[in-house]
Symmetry: C2
Subunit: 153 residues, 2 copies
DNA sequence: CTCGACAAGTGGACGAGATCGACCAGACGA
DNA sequence: TCGTCTGGTCGATCTCGTCCACTTGTCGAG
């Protein structure tokens, strides 16, 4: 992971469909060597994939909410995690240091869907309590910050 | 936005670098017409961009935290928002219904960076209090849920 | 019913990009 | 000094992206 790799990663975060030829021009190499570097970045797990960014509202997911989970003492975290993973509406799941030991980011089309979702999460064994906060607006999301300085490979 | 558009969106969310030719094969159209559809999806704001997914730890952003902001009564939200936007470490910013009216997701290399960041956010005029939670692990993040049913265009 | 307009696809042509193998240069250790 | 390894270039070839002309189907107006 040298400076050129960082530039490539930054370019691909800005536009994930940039062609190898274009990347090559930007970093001053040829297309095959850039392709080689990108392949290595993918294999080593630094680049984990590519995705199109979608306006959630435009595809009918107009409601975003954050759900905090307070577990009970007997909670089997591995089990909770698997059950959460099975719920497609949960887009992100963080394990936190605090009383609310999980936070979920969920997206649903309608309020009714959110209500059902909360009940479903609350019914998972080991979940003592949930606390839901509706997001009124998403100011921004998943903004890529440039890859920083010195990195171990 | 018909069924074919939905398939295209789902395919591009799964792999944002899928070629038009490949998309065309998957949906049973020719490449030019798929390209035409994708262009329209981009212009209409449904697809807002493409990005490479990066393992944050691998690029030196080993620490993720959630910061809640409690504003004071005199808070100028537009100003707060702009000042938050100027901080690159804030990857996401949600405006919430609740006492904590913003939640930030931030990523930094080291604890010291997080401390500085918290001070910087706390110093913004209109911010009465902040509450930071460290994430111990990210179970998953930004998992695309398939585009659902009936959609207005 | 016919006509024209429009939206959405198709097919072909051509330039650009992706990809592969062969080759090259510098770094490094035996 | 000599292999060997890494990371690069170059050129050939195949695929892809993109433009344009043409076709088809739908629909409302006359």
């Amino acid at each position: 992971m040298d400076e050129i790799d960082q530039t490539i990663v930054n370019l691909l975060r800005t536009d994930g469909r940039t062609s190898y030829a274009e990347l090559a021009r930007r970093v001053g190499l040829t297309a095959p060597s850039v392709q080689d570097r990108v392949t290595k970045l993918e294999k080593s797990g630094i680049i984990t994939g590519y995705t199109a960014l979608i306006d959630a509202e435009a595809i009918g997911l107009g409601i975003t909410a954050l759900i905090g989970i307070i577990p009970d003492n007997a909670a089997d975290h591995h089990d909770i995690c698997e059950r959460l993973r099975a719920i497609p509406q949960i887009e992100s799941c963080y394990f936190l240091a605090g009383v609310e030991c999980y936070q979920l980011k969920v997206r649903v089309p309608k309020m009714g869907d959110l209500e059902r979702l909360i009940h479903r999460v609350g019914a998972i064994p080991g979940v003592a309590q949930t606390r839901t906060t509706i997001t009124l607006s998403t100011k921004w999301e998943d903004r890529p910050q440039p890859v920083p300085f010195e990195l171990a490979d």
